[in-house]
Amino acid sequence: MIWYEANLVLIEATFINFLLALSIQIPLRVGVFSFAGVGSYGIGAYAAAILTIRYDVPAFAAIGAAVVLAAVVGYLFSLVVARLSGLYLAMATVAFVLIISVLAVNGGELTGGAHGLYGALSDLTTGGVIAVCVVVAALLTLTERGPLRRRIEAVREDPELSLSMGIGVVPMRQLAFTVSGALGACAGAMNTLLRTTVSPEELNFHLIVLALTMVVIGGSRSWVGAFIGAVIFTWLPSLLSVVGEWQGVVYGVVVVLAAIFMPTGLVGAAKDLHRRIRGRNRAVPTAPDDVKEEREVFEALSDDSTEGVR
């Protein structure tokens, strides 16, 4: 209990970061590299602060309104960037984050300018934050099994195949932007209400990097990966305080090593290991020997024959 109280700020930050990581992970799961969730974090943070300070709205109503607002903005943004893909789309989403932070700085009295807003006092508790995260994780579990998971996999891996099988790629991407907006705003709003302040400095490049790192290291396919990433990168800086001024270097080395040796994240690495163990115990029936021989001949003759199966 003493430990819990002493580390309350980090515990809360873990769950906030979990939601922020999810706002990056959701678009990634459908094959879209988007940082817009970080911008939504800003929208949520300011919306909740303004509603609480000016209109004295209860915490959950303020969070709810912030979430709906950012979801709508996320959807509209998806329409704007509908024709972009890959790197250009990623750049556009970075621009989105920058626009939100510029709006925050230049918002005059409404956003408090460069100083931000203070005194957003609410009755939001740590338990409330955890409850929201549990609900979000439960809902996301539904997207990680059965038919919805298959559709998401198809949209990410092969949009053309998805179309030919009747799976709408564009609606799926729009949905991802919308959900990403909602999750990012939820993180931003709850963070503001817990800390009682918000300033444009929070929407910096570090937040973008943090959000991405959590997903890359944790794993990009499941909310479990986002949660593991959130735990690691919320606690790592305080654990690394023992190395003093070398903290930044060690942090960087950990990230680089993880990216090299676990390209699919911790969850992906665990899954691969499980697959390998299962594969060893269960011989996969392959084609009979004569088939194999012919196949070898065929492969020797044709260079691209092995490329089809990934």
Binding site: R151, E160, V291, F298, G308, V309, R310
Partner: protein, 257 residues
């Protein structure tokens, strides 16, 4: 050769052209595929066969022409509508989803036609439907149903592609080089399966450059070269057609340069 008085052809393509800038990949090609028949498009590499299939499945826009399913124009509709109209296809290269098992890959094919409420077809843990089990059984994938695509031989992976298309219970099946990379006995098996499906009423359009396989399997052949039709008729007629021979063996040597 028209069947105007009876049912319209399952698939009809009229004067289809697909141009990429100055390149005329398909230029004025057409066919009428009746129910319960296997039509084959024969042609050398680069003759426009796969582009034609892409046009038929609305993955590339038409420069010119009309496409009809059951006598209804569809070349302005979204490609996602085609699955609901009963069209399924396989691709020239194996396109299985690497993070789904063989069973899940086949299930994906059936998802479009999933019965029950819309929400139920999106959420929840589902047992493989009858159509999925049937597709797996007919393509002989029972033993590898829980394997990952990366563990399969090329021929096996091809079967999964066919099973995924069949799981949608289509009325029209488009197959782009379905037996590429298969050995002789596998080819025969696939050919036999296609003929069985035809007898059950499934219209099929095969694109292939394996002439023997096409002659053995198809009811009707259409030969294509440089994006246009060069010959059409029964398999034996088409393969012995001089224009087809020329397309495969290259232009005949002519003395005046």
């Amino acid at each position: 050769m028209t069947t105007a008085q009876t049912a319209p052809p399952v698939l009809e393509a009229e004067d289809v052209a697909v141009h990429y800038g100055g390149i005329k990949a398909v230029d004025g090609f057409g066919l009428r595929l009746p129910a319960g028949k296997i039509y084959g498009i024969l042609g050398p590499n680069g003759s426009g066969k796969s582009t034609f299939l892409a046009a038929v499945t609305r993955l590339v826009p038409l420069t010119r022409g009309r496409l009809l399913i059951d006598g209804r124009e569809y070349h302005t509709e979204s490609p996602t509508m085609l699955a609901r109209k009963g069209l399924a296809r396989t691709f020239q290269t194996v396109r299985l989803l690497p993070e789904l098992t063989v069973l899940e890959n086949v299930q994906l094919g059936a998802d479009t036609n999933a019965s029950g409420g819309r929400l139920r077809s999106w959420l929840g843990r589902d047992k493989p439907s009858e159509a999925v089990e049937e597709a797996i059984e007919r393509t002989g994938l029972g033993d590898v149903r829980s394997a990952w695509p990366g563990e399969l031989s090329y021929g096996m992976a091809r079967r999964v592609e066919i099973a995924r298309a069949l799981a949608a219970r289509p009325r029209l099946l488009l197959l782009d080089e379905p037996t590429a990379g298969m050995n002789h006995s596998e080819r025969q098996e696939v050919s036999e399966l296609m003929r069985k499906l035809r007898d059950e009423g499934l219209a099929q359009l095969i694109v292939e450059h394996d002439v023997q396989m096409m002659v053995d399997t198809c009811d009707h052949l259409v030969a294509m070269n440089s994006g246009t039709l060069v010959a059409e008729g029964s398999p034996s007629e088409v393969v012995s057609h001089p224009a087809v021979q020329e397309a495969y063996l290259g232009k005949r040597w002519r003395s005046h340069a």
